[in-house]
Symmetry: C2
Subunit: 343 residues, 2 copies
């Protein structure tokens, strides 16, 4: 049979006090509200005895706050996002906030649904990796004074805080690293999304290639999570057609992962002849054989900055937005070492 959870009213009746008193004690405001020590002790003892848990839905309705934040990224199972998410969760916990995670899959409709769902449930703040076309929905949140921080990508038309990395520098550094390892024909594999961060990475690649007087070799694959196999076939054909390629720079870690599979399918030994580097690190990369080099984003710093800004915004409304562009670091592993000895 169903147990009814006791309400403040039930407790007040048992103890012969008012719900107000119980509520004050429950929220630790007993002293402040001049409740006598004896009564505080009595109420606290009873609360503990029955292991009372307040109904948070009722509390939220009254206070207008849920103490819940939402972390909305492209794909929460992606190493980069899940690491940042985990750190954010820890910081939130210490500040008595809970975090809900969800994946947008870069799908506008899905993201809009999620934003509205959570907004209707009165969550207190959003950290979002914004897909293209989401401006209006985010503006809508901002009009209701719900804190929103953009992450990984910025949207120029939105005057709200963001935390991103310097994609241009990162891509340039990575490309240079391949060049320094002796590679001459470096292909750049990216997705055909008009997102700012992707354009910056491409520009970074181009800059390094031009400075070194090499030739650009670029392939843009369709961004479409359902057609992964098709994408990989295109990549395989591209590699076969450009037999002079001696290195590949993948613009994101999921491209790399699919790409490595394609390379393996062409020839299990091909991976040992190519220089490889990926933008964004992945747990997968240090387990692969050979281990894969990557340009890693500063995960801890990003999480700390995101939460610092979020907590600030939750405390005081109408703060000036902060625009943060952080630096990443190159993680050189086996895949980007000179291969001349093996050839």
């Amino acid at each position: 049979m169903k147990k009814k959870r006791p309400s403040l009213k039930d407790i007040a009746e048992v103890l012969n006090v008012s719900t107000t008193t119980v509520s004050f004690v429950l929220n630790g405001k007993g002293e402040e509200k001049k409740i006598s020590k004896e009564l505080i002790a009595k109420v606290e003892a009873y609360l503990k005895e029955i292991n009372y848990k307040p109904n948070l839905v009722a509390r939220s309705l009254r206070t207008g706050s849920t103490r819940v934040l939402v972390f909305m990224v492209e794909d929460i199972s992606n190493h980069f996002f899940s690491k940042v998410g985990r750190l954010i969760e820890d910081i939130s916990y210490k500040n008595d906030y809970r975090v809900l995670f969800c994946s947008t899959e870069n799908d506008l409709k899905r993201t809009q649904d999620l934003i509205h769902l959570f907004h209707e449930r009165q969550v207190d703040g959003f950290i979002i990796v914004p897909p293209l076309g989401i401006e209006d929905d985010i503006k809508h949140l901002m009009e209701h004074e719900t804190p929103v921080i953009l992450f990984d990508r910025k949207i120029p038309s939105l005057k709200t805080d963001y935390v991103v990395i310097n994609n241009f520098e990162g891509a340039k550094t990575s490309t240079k690293h391949l060049i320094d390892s002796g590679y001459k024909n470096i292909a750049y594999i990216t997705v055909d999304l008009d997102q700012g961060q992707m354009q910056d990475r491409e520009a970074g690649y181009r800059a390094a290639i031009e400075e070194a007087g090499l030739n650009e070799i670029t392939l843009k694959l369709p961004f479409n999570t359902t057609a992964v196999t098709e994408s990989r076939e295109k990549l395989k054909n591209f590699i076969k057609e450009h037999s002079n390629i001696d290195a590949i720079f993948f613009a994101t870690n999921y491209l790399s992962q699919s790409g490595l599979k394609g390379i393996h399918q062409i020839d299990p030994n091909l991976i040992n002849k190519l220089g490889i580097i990926s933008f964004d690190d992945s747990g997968f990369f240090e387990m692969y054989s050979p281990t894969i080099s990557a340009f890693a984003q500063p995960i801890e710093e990003m999480a700390e900055q995101l939460m610092r800004i979020m907590l600030k915004k939750l405390k005081e409304k109408d703060t000036k937005p902060e625009y943060l562009t952080l630096k990443g670091t190159l993680v050189a592993r086996e895949s980007s070492q000179p291969k001349t000895t093996k050839l």
Copy 2:
């Protein structure tokens, strides 16, 4: 400046009707409640015009239902769990439920916190991969008539529904597959958890080895997410000490992933000499070089069954619990093929 969200009351005042009427129309009960077609049309038009979204916190307080389910697994970034989660989300969506995902990390305290957090927020149902020691908290949920379904593992003392696979058969089949491929010295790598499913897998391995008249070679690593490196060192030493091993059966996919890294560290070419199979598939396995064989759980079927049972329990209370043990399938890839040609 802050926009206040309109409430039903505001709308009722503007339209000069009662909040009751607006609520009926909002919930599509207009006809049933004998509201005239004209008035329904007028209210609907206005609701659409201002793009009214009800306050779901208030609705939940009144109805006692949030239309939210929780999917609580060991690690949501694990391929197996994230796949099942995604399918569950789709089915839920079609039935007007939302799903929240979270990771227990097999940590009792963390899991308890999460269960209480969501219970206090009145979520409608739980699908849980239960860590050891969680019985009482789950019993507590059941006493409050909150539907709970166990997944991946069962807890004998709990009379609630579960969906698991036949771990014994799966492990036996996998081991036999290695034997059939000609391997003679098959090591079994597992974790030192007293969980039923792990014991069943080990028993399956043992049964196949005994039937074939081979020798058991078993290594139990400590389950400890923070000491991955240490674990891997133990594994490496184990492999070095047992130089006669020609195949390895990993009891879970995360063990395999760490194990593959260890094998690579010992010698990049070692992987091509060993037969490898893993319990639980992973996206990583078909990308690895060589591709890794695995015993895969029936992901679609599990998601469908879980949601079928959940929806049934949400509709009618006091249903008889269902105990489902499904079958998995062997996915033979490169890593478990005979290696005799290469030696």
